[in-house]
Structure formats: structure tokens, C-alpha cells
């Protein structure tokens, strides 16, 4: 098993004829992901790489190909609309790679996705990969190995760094999920921790957080109450300067300021092994007897 994606994932690529979309569609196909359809309005009827049918709308793509997952590579200006479209077409999983979606767009997108019962990963995320089974997004397949470590991260390249450490030391991954660094995202740490805890193939979990917000604190609390598997964590931004202040409201709303120190403390208090640097991931997991 794995979480969210596997061999049954049937993928529609929104923006398949664009620069990023076409590049990564090929990468995903090469990795073995079942890319069953692409969508670019006005290019309906074409075939991508002589094989994948392209449609004008996601609804048509789903109707014709029984796609169950969408990945979005369209420009930021139309990315919110692409998420609406994917959710409206009944897709169960929607992965939005696009960076730069205005947060106010997301305030409208998220309840819509939720009402339709879909899961959104991202936006502004590298996607996810269940090594050896399916890759949806941009995580380089060649750094991953199949195995029993679940990885969930707010970061992109830092995730690659951690995966690289794991794979180099023979610790394969069940699924690696990049949940995205934006303030409003569809799937958070707790959702992923819940799924990893329920996944019999995942033996331990790596959680990669950042400064800002309180998601890591909530994740720590969740781990303490609900996760039986070993968890190790990393928080990027220990030396980062305090974020630009958002008026008074920022301080009022968050109360806590979301520093790395606070987050690392929360992880420790939840019994999570805290890395000081990315290279600590392997020794920490080993000490947890994985």
C-alpha cells in the first residue's frame, strides 16, 4: 500500500500542452504513472506524445477516460479555476503544483473542494510520489526508492534533500507528499499523518516543517494523541529573521509567532525525534529502530 496514489491512480494533466505540463507529463509517464488524459481548452481532439488524448474540459476527460486524479500545471492566473474545474468534474484527488495563487482565491476554492468531497494537495507544492507505483507532480523519481518511510513536507527541494538522504542509506519510502508552502492548502500534516498511521506499509514517518503558522504544533499534538508509529521531524528556518510583520492583526491572530524554536519544542514534547540538520534523519530513524 501507500497513501493517496498507487497503481490505481488514473491521472489527467491540466495544462498538458504547456511548458511545465508537457515536461512533467513525460516525466510521469516515464516513471510509470497512468497518465490517461490531458486538458487544454482549444486543443481537444489532439494527442499528447501520440498517445494521451487531450480534451477541452476536465469533465470530458473524466467522462471519456475514468480519470480519478488531476494534476495542475497551469499559470497562477487560471490555477484557482483549474482546481474548481477538477473538483466539479468529480475527481477524488487534485494535486496543484502551480505557485503564486492569490490566497483570497483559495478562500473560495477550499470550501468548494471540501463540499465536493475531493482531496486537494497544494497549491505551490511538488506533488507526491509512491515510489515504484505512481508519481504525481515534480518530485524527481530517481532519488526515491520503494520502502516503508512516509515523508510529509511543506517544502520542495528540502524534501528532495531528505529523500536523498533516506534513499542513499537504504531507507525507501512508502509515499512522499509535498503539501505546499502556501498559507492556505488543501491537505495538511494531520491529514497525511492520519493516512500514514492507517497505511500498513508505512513503518515510520518523517515530517518536514518550516517557520510560520502553527501547523507543526497541531501535527505534534496529533502525533502525541493518535500516532503509534515513530515520527522524526525537521523545522527549517532556525536562523531565519522574524517574518515581516503583518500589521497588528498578524500578532493578534496567531498569538504565538510560529518560530522554529517553538515548533521544535512542540515536536520534542510529542515524542518526535527532532533533526538538527537534514543528515540527521537516518540516524534518528535508526535510533527509533526502523
Amino acid at each position: 500500500m501507500s497513501i493517496f496514489i498507487d497503481q490505481s491512480t488514473r491521472l489527467v494533466v491540466q495544462g498538458i500542452t504547456g511548458r511545465d505540463g508537457s515536461f512533467h507529463a513525460k516525466q510521469m509517464m516515464a516513471y510509470g504513472t497512468k497518465v490517461v488524459a490531458g486538458v487544454t481548452p482549444g486543443k481537444g481532439g489532439q494527442r499528447f506524445e501520440d498517445s494521451v488524448p487531450v480534451f477541452n474540459t476536465v469533465a470530458e476527460a473524466v467522462h471519456e477516460t475514468r480519470a480519478n486524479t488531476a494534476v495542475i500545471y497551469v499559470p497562477a492566473a487560471v490555477a484557482a479555476s483549474a482546481i474548481f474545474e477538477a473538483a466539479d468534474a468529480g475527481l477524488e484527488l487534485i494535486v496543484c503544483i502551480t505557485e503564486g495563487i492569490p490566497v483570497l482565491d483559495m478562500t473560495r476554492v477550499l470550501p468548494f473542494v471540501h463540499e465536493r468531497g475531493a482531496r486537494l494537495i497544494g497549491p505551490n507544492c511538488p506533488g507526491l510520489i509512491s515510489p515504484g507505483k505512481s508519481k504525481v507532480g515534480i518530485i524527481p523519481g530517481n532519488i526515491c526508492e520503494p520502502g516503508k518511510i512516509g515523508v510529509v513536507s511543506r517544502s520542495g527541494t528540502l524534501t528532495y534533500e531528505i529523500i536523498h538522504q533516506l534513499s542513499s542509506h537504504g531507507m525507501g519510502q512508502s509515499t512522499c507528499v509535498g503539501i505546499g508552502g502556501d498559507p492556505l492548502i488543501g491537505t495538511n500534516f494531520v491529514h497525511c499523518l492520519t493516512a500514514f498511521e492507517a497505511d500498513p506499509e508505512t513503518a515510520a514517518i518523517v515530517l518536514i516543517g518550516e517557520i510560520g503558522g502553527t501547523d507543526e504544533q497541531q501535527a505534534a499534538d496529533f502525533v502525541r494523541r493518535n500516532v503509534s508509529k515513530p515520527v522524526v521531524g525537521f523545522i527549517a528556518g532556525q536562523t531565519a529573521p522574524p517574518g515581516r510583520r503583518m500589521g497588528h492583526a498578524g500578532a493578534i491572530i496567531s498569538g504565538a509567532s510560529g518560530t522554529a524554536a517553538e515548533k521544535m519544542q512542540a515536536l520534542e514534547q510529542a515524542g518526535i525525534g527532532v533533526m538538527k540538520r537534514p543528515a540527521d534523519v537516518v540516524p534518528l530513524l535508526k535510533s527509533a529502530r526502523i
Binding site: 492569490p102 478562500t107 524527481p140 511543506r154 517544502s155 527541494t157 500589521g247 492583526a249 540538520r277
Partner: protein, 380 residues
């Protein structure tokens, strides 16, 4: 992107929120003329993207136009938290009966715009929030319905016992909510929302922060950007498509991805060094971006070494390598460069760098250790 107070006031006014008159002055003479038009007794307020203006001496009361001119002379050109004041706002000194707070911010937790109001407004609102949180009333607005009349009126009654003032405040809240979506604000606040002795409710000071992701689709808002109010190197970085924040150390860091950039800075510190900056070249890796990054970093005389940490994903290693080589032609690089590069097109990148006389590492810890040693004047 921050707006100046005078810009925020103008936006509120356009949306029908009552704002007292005010004029912007860039010289003491203009300040005097404005003060005269506004009746002499005015406040002179530094227009600068920094909090704590008042405590820094950037807000002064004048009893006459001459005094306003003198205050403007003192404030214009002063430095507040590293930023030079180029403009002052001249506004009539209003008699205030009460000060409330009204703010809207997009909240991660509820994933909604949250309206916060407090009858205890003014400069100590943060202390109010910390010490007497029960004085802050919050409402997570459902963006599918917007801020509903009864919700705003309920919060209006939290500010004022008088129904007319409560309705006036509710109206202002609903308009402020519209402002948020109309201009693409991640924050909009009125502090203080003041009542006059006659009972009128007015926005005396306003702060609006625009979501950077909104700027491109809103040319009218983009036009409000005041580059003279920002640090020059950050302006240069933004124009090159980089994210750059200056720090106090001497190890220049150039990384792809914000998380890896922070982890790299952390590792510099871990090995005893001090990062000179946060610099994320982002996903798209045109060589020219790398050149711009090097130009910005090398313009800081404190930087003793430059550390590249690139994990190729979307970013292609060969693009970065080409950028480094190109920069050696365009710039005179006087500090050593340590390169860590792995991932997409790693082989091609190594070849390009080797040809140009650079060597590169693939291990992050090794590279950081070398850079820290070089910054301390030791051989790698």
C-alpha cells in the same frame, strides 16, 4: 506588498468608509501649505513601511502651519528601522472620544478571512490581545456568503452601545471586507476606528498589505508600489525574480527553494558560520537569474564567501552552472564560491563548472563546512 497609510486611506475612502481629510507632502514647504489648508492644527506622520513610527519620532502634533513645517523638516529624511522617510501625511488633529480596532486578515487556521474588532483600539492593541484577549472579538467570515449584515452589526454592538454608532461601524466593517477582495489584501486594518465628540465614526489610520500574488493581475495596485520605500537590494532581487532578505552574516547563500534555503542557513549556523542573506532563486533556473543573484550578494562588502546549494528538480543544474560561469565574465568576483549541486542534469553541470575552473561538491554538509571555513579566512 505594503501600502503607505495615505494610500490605504485613499482606498478606504473610495469604498465609502469615512476617513478624515489628509494630504501628502514631500517637502517642509508642502507640509506647511497642507497644514494651512487643513486649519493649522495637524498631525505630521512619516509614511514608511515600518511599525512603531510614533515611538521613533515619526508622528508629531503641530499647533500651527509653521510648526507643521518644522516637524516635516525633522521627519523627512529620518531613518526608521533602516528605511528613509520620503513622504509625510498631514491630517487634521481630530478630537477623539474613543478608539476602537477593526482588522481583517486571512487566517491559516480557519482558512477564511477573519474579522477582528476590539473596543480597546489604538497603539496598544497588541498588548490588549496578549493580556485581555476577551476584549478582542473575532469572526471567521464564510467567503461564500461574505460578511453578512447581522454579523457586522453584532460586532458593531461589541464596539458601541449606541445603535447608530454600531450601524456605522458595521457598515465600515462590510466595506472593509469588500476592500480586502477588491484590492487583493492579505491584511486590512483600521486602528484607531475613532469616534468624534459629536459621535461620528471615522477611520483615523489604516494599514493595507497586498498579497504579492495579487499584484500582477491588479495594475492599479501595482502602480502604488513605492520602491524608494524599500531596501534597494530587495527591489533588485524582486525585479530579477528572486526572493532576497538581507541578514548580518558573511556567508552569502544562493539556494533553490525556500525550505532548502532556510535549511542551508541553519546549517551554516550549525557549523559555526553566519549567513549573510536568504536568497531563493526559485524553480525556473535561467542563467540570468544566477547572475543577478551573484551581483546582489557581491555588492555587500561583508560577504566573504558565496555558497551555492542547488538540488535540481525543476531547476536544472546546467542552467545554474552556466549562470555562475556567465557571472564570472560579467562581474569581478572577489570572494570564493563554494558550489554544492546535485539532481537534474548534475553531470552536465559538473562538466560546465570543471571547464570553467570551478569544482563542485554533491554533499550539502561538506559544502557548508567549506564555506564557513573560507568565511573565517581559513583554507577550505
Amino acid at each position: 506588498m505594503n501600502l503607505h497609510e495615505y494610500q490605504a486611506r485613499e482606498i478606504l475612502r473610495r469604498h465609502g468608509i469615512p476617513v478624515p481629510p489628509g494630504e501628502v507632502a514631500t517637502t517642509p514647504g508642502e507640509a506647511r501649505a497642507s497644514a494651512q489648508r487643513l486649519g493649522g492644527k495637524v498631525v505630521v506622520k512619516a509614511q514608511v513601511h515600518a511599525g512603531g513610527r510614533g515611538k521613533a519620532g515619526g508622528v508629531k502634533l503641530a499647533n500651527s502651519a509653521a510648526e507643521a513645517e518644522a516637524h516635516a523638516r525633522a521627519i523627512l529624511g529620518m531613518t526608521i528601522k533602516g528605511l528613509t522617510v520620503h513622504k509625510v501625511l498631514i491630517a487634521p488633529a481630530a478630537a477623539i472620544a474613543s478608539e476602537s480596532y477593526v482588522g481583517i486578515i486571512v487566517d491559516r487556521g480557519s482558512q477564511r478571512p477573519v474579522l477582528m474588532v476590539s473596543p480597546a483600539g489604538g497603539i496598544d492593541i497588541e498588548e490588549v490581545a496578549a493580556k485581555t484577549p476577551e476584549k478582542i472579538h473575532r469572526l471567521a467570515v464564510d467567503p461564500r456568503y461574505g460578511l453578512l449584515s447581522h454579523q457586522a452589526l453584532g460586532l458593531g454592538f461589541a464596539l458601541y452601545g449606541d445603535v447608530h454608532q454600531a450601524r456605522a461601524a458595521a457598515d465600515i466593517m462590510q466595506k472593509l471586507y469588500q476592500v480586502v477582495y477588491a484590492v487583493g489584501a492579505s491584511l486590512a486594518e483600521i486602528n484607531p476606528l475613532a469616534t468624534t465628540p459629536e459621535g461620528a465614526v471615522q477611520a483615523l489610520d489604516a494599514k493595507i498589505v497586498i498579497d504579492d500574488n495579487e499584484v500582477e493581475r491588479r495594475p492599479d495596485i501595482a502602480a502604488l508600489r513605492d520602491v524608494t520605500a524599500e531596501a534597494p537590494e530587495e527591489v533588485a532581487a524582486r525585479e530579477a525574480g528572486l526572493t532576497f532578505i538581507k541578514l548580518d552574516g558573511n556567508v552569502g547563500c544562493c539556494v533553490n527553494g525556500a525550505g532548502l534555503a532556510m535549511a542551508t542557513m541553519d546549517l551554516v549556523k550549525y557549523y559555526g558560520g553566519e549567513p549573510a542573506n536568504f536568497l531563493d532563486i526559485g524553480g525556473s533556473s535561467k542563467a540570468q537569474k544566477v547572475v543577478a543573484a551573484l551581483r546582489i550578494m557581491t555588492s555587500d562588502p561583508r560577504v566573504k564567501v558565496i555558497l551555492f546549494n542547488i538540488f535540481g528538480g525543476i531547476t536544472r543544474g546546467d542552467d545554474v552552472a552556466n549562470g555562475i560561469v556567465q557571472a564570472t565574465h560579467e562581474l569581478s568576483l572577489k570572494v570564493p564560491i563554494v558550489i554544492r549541486l546535485t539532481g537534474t542534469n548534475e553531470g552536465e553541470a559538473m562538466e560546465i563548472l570543471t571547464k570553467a575552473g570551478f569544482s563542485a561538491l554533491t554533499d550539502m554538509d561538506e559544502a557548508v563546512k567549506q564555506a564557513v571555513a573560507l568565511a573565517k579566512g581559513k583554507a577550505a
